[in-house]
Amino acid sequence: MKTSLYPEHVKLCARIVDFHGWDMPVWYTGIKDEHMATRESSGLFDASHMGEIFVSGKHCTAFLNRILTRDVSSMKPGKVYYTFFLNDKAGIIDDLTVYCIEEQERYMLCVNASNIPVDLNWIHEQNKEKAVIEDKSPQTALIALQGPGSAEILKTCMDFDLEDLRYFTFCKINSPEYGDLMISKTGYTGAGGVEIFLAAENSSPLWRSFVDAGATPCGLGARDTLRLEMGYPLHGNDIDETTTPLEAQLDFAIDMSKNDFIGKESLAAQTSKGLSRRLFGVELLEKGIPRQGYHCLKAGQEVGIITSGSISPVLGHGIALAYLDNSVHEDEEIAVLVRSKLIRAKVKRPPFVKGTISK
């Protein structure tokens, strides 16, 4: 599959890879340059492979409140939450953002590209409330403009004032050049900026205007190192149906005070029983690059496994996310087995680098 921006990637001579069936740019000039451009000025990402599912109708709020971990009933139009679909065991089917478009009446769910079919199945299967479900993923493009220089570019290209928008909110505007846009002050980089949803057919002109204004096109490679520096989990690596939000230390995205939702009982049970492992950041103190599947040891005993790892372009050394067992605590020193060598590392609570998000 290809996004509507694929011809732009080819024009920019991007290195294209297969990402869960999507032909996506992994880099244009290089991951490090693109990463640093996003941290220091502005990076442009095609995230159109992600899914946009609209939920509306009489009982849509009740429905969403049952299948999501946050309370959507108090959401006002323009609000965005990060949340999960959980199974009965509180395993994470997907992590997503929910957008309140019309209070109590219409919402949009932005889900991971690789999970669109699974999510749609799950939503339809659970839909006792008979909410109206529309998958608008194919006709919707998503362009992320991230980094401290995003405000200036938005002003230049669309006369849009980013300061007027608060973090984790969005606004709908109609632009003469690009049609209906949803501009959301969210992102997956920790660098600040926006994510813009628009009709696929309008995506190329908007992309080109951002490039012309000086935004650096960035591939999935930089998207991954940027999110890793912030400790944002990647579904399929760091979280999946076998891990819970509590283990992943994502408690902020669950609301135990609201009425029953799928997975709530299991979460409560896990809280009272205590966690046997937790997702931590791991920062290497010596040369080496931690990778998914590498083992973590403490005093010669295995204490966990790395779920994502790479080098931090900002710090210049290896960073990772790892599930570590109960015996391990923040700021403690452990070792990562890199091939046959034990590399010293420190357990940290991410982010590994300071983000530049303006609230």
């Binding site: 040369k287 690059i289 080098i311 372009p313």
Partner: protein, 129 residues
């Protein structure tokens, strides 16, 4: 993609240059470009004996780990320690300053198995299809 004349090439995208009874080894322009930003290089110990096709070191880009394979059997005389601290040199000068190792050959006729620049060029085009 640069493929200098006078060097020999492997199917794993290493180059080899004969220096008397030894060969100098590195990775090709195609290899460095496929890997992207190279951020880590390490070698097996100097003085070790290695068989053709075995790994003489590891090279990591931001995204991936790959091995550097010995084009011939022999003894590792030198490794390029410069790359341990400046791995990005591999992206900048893969046929020059970013050579990987110098191997004293057990049997110089083993280089007969390697490709010349023309054949490697054809091999790359065939691989791209």
């Amino acid at each position: 993609m640069k493929i200098p004349e006078g060097l020999m090439y492997t199917q794993d995208h290493e180059w080899a240059k004969i220096e008397k009874k030894a060969i100098r080894v590195g990775i090709t322009d195609h290899a460095q470009s496929e890997l992207g930003d190279i951020v880590f290089v390490e070698f097996i110990e100097k003085g070790s004996h290695i068989t053709a096709g075995e790994s003489l070191g590891t090279i990591e880009s931001v995204k991936a780990v790959s091995e550097i394979y010995a084009p011939v059997s022999g003894t590792i005389l030198e490794v390029n320690e410069l790359l341990l601290d400046t791995p990005e040199l591999v992206n900048q000068d893969c046929y020059g300053d970013a050579w990987m190792a110098l191997i004293e050959m057990d049997d110089p006729t083993e280089t007969d198995n390697l490709m010349n620049a023309k054949v490697y060029g054809e091999f790359l085009s065939a691989e791209a299809k």
